[in-house]
Symmetry: C2
Subunit: 76 residues, 2 copies
């Protein structure tokens, strides 16, 4: 499962992990990327799972920055 385009409004991808700690570590990598890129996703996570939602708040929809951010998340 890769990134989905949802409602032509945001990108969403779900990631699975073996425990809570691994999920939290991934959240931190995404968080550091967000600060570095100054592009901040919504992140929901729990034991063994992380869901990332990306869109551009300024236009309440998708821009090139969102696709770039998504690609960078894949490379974490």
């Amino acid at each position: 499962p890769d990134w989905e385009v949802v409602d032509e409004h945001h990108l969403r991808r779900k990631f699975r992990f073996g425990n809570f700690r691994e999920a939290l570590d991934f959240v931190n990598r995404v968080g550091e990327l967000a600060e570095e890129q100054n592009h901040h996703p919504d992140i929901c996570f729990g034991w063994g799972r992380v869901e990332i939602t990306v869109f551009t708040h300024k236009i309440d929809g998708l821009t090139e920055s969102d696709f770039i951010f998504a690609a960078k998340v894949d490379n974490l």
Copy 2:
């Protein structure tokens, strides 16, 4: 706004912060508490906000552990 009991199933509380970094730092404090207590909430966050949802997966509802966890989050 304090903890809400939602659907007699889980506890939920929303927290506000001045930026993404402060939200991420709080998420990490909650994450460390979760590992320490071996009680893992669902956490959703973004720029300036964190929402914590707590319930006991084993019974798919609320137990004393959830209220204890919520009180500990308030003391972070």
